[in-house]
């Protein structure tokens, strides 16, 4: 399952979907909204995405992961809209027979989402709303 979503992401639901009786390992990365930045308190983050392009890139990342590692399932979901402190902004989860493949594939997944997916965030702080300075998108 790969997607962007405006709905709350629940880790337990993702765990139920990724779990597979033929596999001995699940590795996941869960990104959360922090309550602070370098200047002070953060109340939440507005996430904006070029949804159609993100889903296409997530499909490519999924293909690359299945090509390069012997894994059983791959899930990558990114939130859009307003996400409060403590809520999940992104989750990547991988199931495989053994842990090594799952660790490597999960790491590849989140690193490539951050480098390649057109998603932007604006923090809501005590000083107002501010777009986060990002990085140039990678192909």
């Amino acid at each position: 399952m790969i997607s962007t979503t405006k709905d709350t992401i629940y880790q337990t639901k993702i765990f139920d979907q990724i779990k597979d009786d033929s596999c001995g390992a699940i590795v996941s990365f869960t990104g959360l909204v922090r309550d602070h930045n370098s200047k002070g308190k953060v109340e939440g983050i507005f996430y904006e995405a070029y949804d159609e392009m993100v889903e296409e890139i997530l499909r490519n990342i999924e293909k690359e992961v299945f090509k390069n590692w012997n894994i059983k399932k791959f899930i990558a979901v990114h939130r859009t809209g307003y996400v409060q402190v403590g809520e999940i902004s992104v989750i990547v989860a991988v199931t495989s027979e053994h842990r090594k493949e799952a660790f490597e594939a999960c790491s590849y997944g989140i690193e490539n989402i951050k480098k390649r997916c057109p998603i932007w965030k604006k923090e809501k702080t005590q000083f107002g709303n501010e777009w986060i300075e990002g990085v140039k998108i990678s192909e």
Binding site: G31, Y47, E48, A49, Y50, E52, M53, E56, H78, S89, V90, I110, I113, K114, C117, P118, I119, W120, K121, K122, W131, I132, E133, G134, V135, K136, I137, E139
Partner: protein
């Protein structure tokens, strides 16, 4: 009779650029049937100085794929300006 051909391009905006223009899209007309992304960037810089394209490290996506400045785009293409990203 005016024989000049115009092509309309729709350019999608996101993030800080969408907010600056208070719009999801820019609609522009060009004198030819296609234009290179390099020329388009220059044209947009002149037409919309408030976008600040010369100050931001933008790239273009065409039909949801990142493209370099030498690609030509036409009216049927889905063009988007991608400002620096910050997902995760």
């Amino acid at each position: 009779m005016n024989l000049t051909e115009y092509t309309t391009l729709k350019i999608r905006l996101f993030g800080i650029l969408r907010e600056k223009m208070d719009s999801d899209n820019l609609i522009i007309s060009i004198h030819n049937t296609s234009i290179s992304l390099k020329e388009l960037r220059k044209y947009l810089e002149e037409l919309y100085p408030s976008l600040g394209l010369n100050e931001i490290n933008i790239v273009f996506a065409v039909n949801k794929v990142i493209r370099n400045d030498y690609m030509n785009v036409k009216s049927s293409d889905e063009i988007a300006i991608i400002p620096p990203i910050s997902g995760g």
